[in-house]
């Protein structure tokens, strides 16, 4: 059991606006006429398309193979015909295109054959592969592949289930916990088993008493150490690091994983998807999301991945003064640049925004260093310092003041009396730093290549010289065998240059020696002695002569001269 809760620094209490949609049960959204399924469904990984236009697919049939370590499979959300494989805009602030499979539903919604996965008998690797092949990613919004998160964990003591849902307006996790508590906890206990955790803690903000009650009731059916804990409603209590801090007191620094501290955290929706994937063999092809804001009929819907947002908006009927549509919550979400984009696995909420509900920001005033932002910052940064540094393009200093610990929760911008869009400054600074690092790494690569080229040329040169020296030594050895190498300098083998000279001399001598042998046969010892004396004189003359092979070019281009 949880003995006590911990606080995290800062945080804000914006109006929750949960009542608008919290009492609307989850309904299946009607089938759209076309589903645009992006192949990019997890962070930094795009699946490889394995279907072609014209092909008929069943519901849950795989249409994209996982690629790379962070890849997960992508599936057809319903049965129908693949009509296109091409680029379509993604639900992203940039509105960039991504590869999508467009499916025209046949209306039958016929499932592919499904097999429950017996994770008790399977190895851990097989279970993780099953999750990957079912396309399970974090449904809290980050869409981080669950099998990777599980695979990294060892020595995990506590598995935390994140049902905090701290962002205003969003109620999809609330409804999911109220309606499918048993499934969520079944998924959580699978996760706990896969990760080898001892205890399971579910953290839910105390503004969701029905969800807490439902989860507590369902927790009775789960073996082992399970606790459903109400945490104070304080944004961003649902931030992974903040929730871990509240429930365990452990602080996970930037760049570290919970696994290193014996804690791992999953969203309740993810646990639910894990349960469907393992107990029913169903891939992740739909999710629950909230339609709310300036609408006539707010609600929570089970939506197929790939459903266009515009199709969903028809369900909730935005009021006429709606001027923007937000994806995600108002604190961390973004305004959709266009509405024909599809729902992806990270889409938890669509908010119709009006100037009344979300007034345009007031004009920016100068920072007066009042420190409100520092008091609100859950990462315990000094946001105004980061603002000054980012504004002055002093990115090094911003990094020194831990810019990258910023989780972009928006608390600082929320409280700023000068209405400075602080988070925008940090996003700008981070992207500038990333761009510079990329530039630097490109330059590093070019330099590495250049240096390697120099090194290679040098190495080849040395190899050539070594080969020559070896050859010389060999020749000298031969001479020594013949007992005619006595004139060679004693320190010849210490200096490659001298070795070369010696080798050349030896070669010349050998030639000279060879020559008379061919022409003179059966000489008398006297004649031989005479010839030897002449030869010796010749060699002596050759040693003094500067025109001997001493000035060989390779030795002049010594390694020092090029480095």
């Amino acid at each position: 059991m949880i003995a006590r809760l911990f606080n995290f620094h800062g945080g804000v209490k914006p109006d929750a606006h949960k009542n608008e949609s919290a009492n609307a049960p989850i309904q299946p959204a009607p089938m759209p006429s076309r589903l645009v399924v992006p192949l990019r469904q997890s962070t930094r990984a795009t699946a490889r398309c394995i279907v072609s236009p014209g092909q008929h697919v069943l519901k849950g049939e795989r249409i994209g193979d996982p690629e790379g370590t962070l890849g997960t499979a992508v599936h057809a959300p319903t049965s129908g015909t693949v009509v296109e494989f091409g680029l379509h805009p993604l639900a992203h602030p940039s509105g960039l295109n991504t590869r999508c499979v467009v499916i025209e539903p046949d209306g039958e919604d016929r499932w592919v054959e499904r097999h429950p996965f017996d994770y008790h008998t399977a190895t851990r690797e097989q279970a993780l592969a099953q999750l990957r092949d079912c396309g399970i990613v974090g449904l809290g919004g980050a869409t981080f592949p669950s099998h990777v998160k599980l695979g990294r964990g060892s020595g995990i003591d506590t598995l935390i289930l994140n049902g905090a849902e701290c962002e205003p307006w969003i109620t999809c996790d609330d409804r999911l916990m109220r309606e499918r508590a048993a499934d969520i906890l079944a998924g959580a206990s699978i996760l706990r088993e896969l990760i080898g955790a001892r205890r399971l803690v579910v953290g839910i903000e105390d503004n969701k008493p029905e969800a807490i009650a439902a989860m507590q009731a369902a927790a009775g059916g789960i073996e082992g150490d399970v606790a459903v804990v109400a945490v104070p409603s304080l944004y961003p209590a649902g931030g992974e690091k903040q929730l871990i801090r509240v429930l365990t007191g452990v602080e996970i620094p930037y760049g570290k994983l919970g696994a290193e501290f014996g804690v791992q955290c999953f969203n309740v929706g993810t646990a639910h998807a894990v349960y469907r994937a393992l107990a029913h063999g169903e891939p992740l092809i739909s999710r629950v999301l909230t339609l709310t804001g300036n609408v006539s009929r707010p609600g929570n819907y089970e939506v197929l991945i790939g459903t266009p947002i515009s199709h969903l908006l028809a369900l909730c009927a935005p009021k006429p003064d709606t001027d923007r549509t937000l994806m995600g919550g108002p604190m961390m979400g973004f305004a959709l640049p266009r509405l024909d984009v599809p729902v992806v696995k990270g889409t938890n909420c669509i908010i119709s925004a009006s100037p009344t509900l979300f007034p345009p920001p007031q004009p920016e005033q100068p920072c007066i260093r009042c420190g409100e932002c520092a008091r609100a910052c859950p990462a315990e940064l000094q946001p105004f310092e980061l603002y000054w540094f980012s504004r002055a393009l002093n990115f090094g200093k911003a990094q020194e003041y831990n810019l990258f610990d910023c989780i972009e929760c928006g608390c600082c911008s929320y409280v700023c009396p000068s209405h400075i869009p602080l988070v925008d400054y940090y996003r700008f600074a981070k992207s500038e730093i990333w761009a510079r690092e990329r530039e630097k790494s490109a330059a590093d690569q070019a330099r590495d290549r250049f240096e390697f080229r120099n090194y290679r040329q040098e190495r080849e040169k040395e190899e050539k010289a070594a080969k020559l020296a070896a050859k010389a030594a060999e020749t000298r050895a031969k001479m020594a065998d013949k007992g005619a190498a006595e004139e060679a300098p004693a320190n010849a083998d210490a200096d490659p240059k001298k070795a070369l000279i010696a080798a050349a001399l030896a070669r010349a001598k050998a030639q000279k020696e060879a020559a008379p042998v061919r022409n003179t046969e059966a000489l008398s010892p006297e004649t031989e002695k005479e010839i030897a004396e002449i030869d010796a004189r010749r060699i002596k003359a050759a040693l003094i002569d500067p025109a001997t092979p001493a000035g060989d070019t390779p030795s002049e281009r010594s390694p020092e001269s090029t480095s």
């Binding site: 930037y254 979300f358 920001p361 420190g371 008091r375 859950p378 000094q382 009396p417």
Partner: protein
């Protein structure tokens, strides 16, 4: 394109400044009650000058005038100058001081949020150096009629000795130099229950306003606590050893500008330290230096100089007192 967050807390610079002005009103009320309504005239002169100077400088700097001129920050500076100065200084001295604060100390350094020095205190220091006699003529409590005050402010009448009395700090200082001891001095006219007679009520008014600022979270406890503790501790140490030579911490807290400084002057966010530990160091430093000037310096009151001296140290203090970031505590991180 507007980015998240799409919701904002209803807060503004105007609101912050308005809170400060509201918090000053109990002190001003006590001022009017104890000393006279002359302070209101000075507040008005200072406010008008400040807004005019603000508008002038903003247009010279080609900045949007309306938003910045209505942020009330110039009014706060003006009020602090009027309250820190003797309330019977001639009008031109107030105007001059406000111009120094707004034009030189604030806008020449880049306007709101950019000034390294507290504008009101820089103006105070300039004036006390330039016009030492005018700056040390304080009206004694309940002795100067509003008419006389008005005439003193607007010019003409300058028969100073007839209407002014030494302030408590000044009397103490002069008295101690003349071989009197603290105990007998405190029985004389300028002294009240804790500090200067009449003035201690004003200090109480500032304290009340300061509590309002704390409750509305306009300021944090660090700065007033640091300053008052710095002043009380240093005066307390000397008082314990030589109670005849040095006044009690209580006297020092209730006299001069201590309360005004604790809640309204050292709390200036722009020119002060910002980290929790830094705030304590910054404010305690002001308390310490202010006391040293009071006890051993050439001026009866030393807060203004202390503030400027500590303003200089702010970048260093902030740099050296950066709090640990989430997850980087306890040496777990290299």
């Amino acid at each position: 394109m507007i980015h998240s967050p799409y919701i904002r807390k209803p807060a503004s610079v105007q609101r912050v400044m308005l809170n400060v002005l509201l918090a000053l009103t109990p002190g001003i009320a006590a001022y009017v009650w104890q000393i006279g309504a002359g302070i209101l005239v000075n507040l008005a002169i200072a406010s008008v000058t400040a807004v005019a100077a603000e508008v002038l400088m903003l247009s010279l700097r080609r900045r949007p005038v309306m938003l910045a001129a209505t942020d009330l920050s110039a009014i706060v500076t003006a009020w602090l100058i009027a309250l820190a100065f003797p309330s019977i200084v001639p009008w031109w001295l107030t105007v001059f001081a406000v111009l120094v604060a707004i034009v030189a100390v604030k806008h020449l350094y880049g306007g709101l949020g950019q000034n390294p020095f507290n504008p009101a205190m820089a103006a105070y220091c300039t004036m006390i150096v330039a016009y030492p006699s005018l700056m040390s003529q304080w009206p004694a409590a309940g002795t100067v009629s509003f008419d006389t005050q008005l005439q003193l402010i607007l010019g003409g009448l300058r028969e100073i000795d007839a209407v002014t009395g030494a302030t408590a700090l000044d009397a103490l200082r002069t008295g101690l130099r003349g071989d009197a001891n603290v105990g007998t001095l405190l029985q004389t006219a300028p002294f009240g229950l804790f500090g200067g007679r009449g003035w201690e009520w004003i200090a109480g008014g500032y304290l009340l306003g300061g509590l309002f600022l704390l409750l509305t979270r306009t300021i944090t406890w660090h700065l007033p606590t640091g300053f008052l503790a710095g002043l009380a501790l240093t005066s307390g140490v000397l008082w314990l050893f030589h109670p005849d030579q040095f006044a009690s911490p209580m006297f020092h807290l209730a006299s001069g500008g201590a309360m005004l400084a604790a809640f309204f002057i050292v709390t200036d966010p722009v020119s002060g330290a910002t980290t929790p530990r830094g705030k304590l160091i910054f404010a305690a430093g002001i308390g310490l230096i202010a006391y040293l000037i009071r006890a051993f310096g050439a001026y009866p009151e030393g807060i203004a100089f202390a503030v400027l001296l500590m303003n200089i140290c702010v970048p260093l203090i902030d740099m050296k007192t950066q709090p640990a970031v989430f997850g980087h505590r306890g040496g777990r991180q290299s």
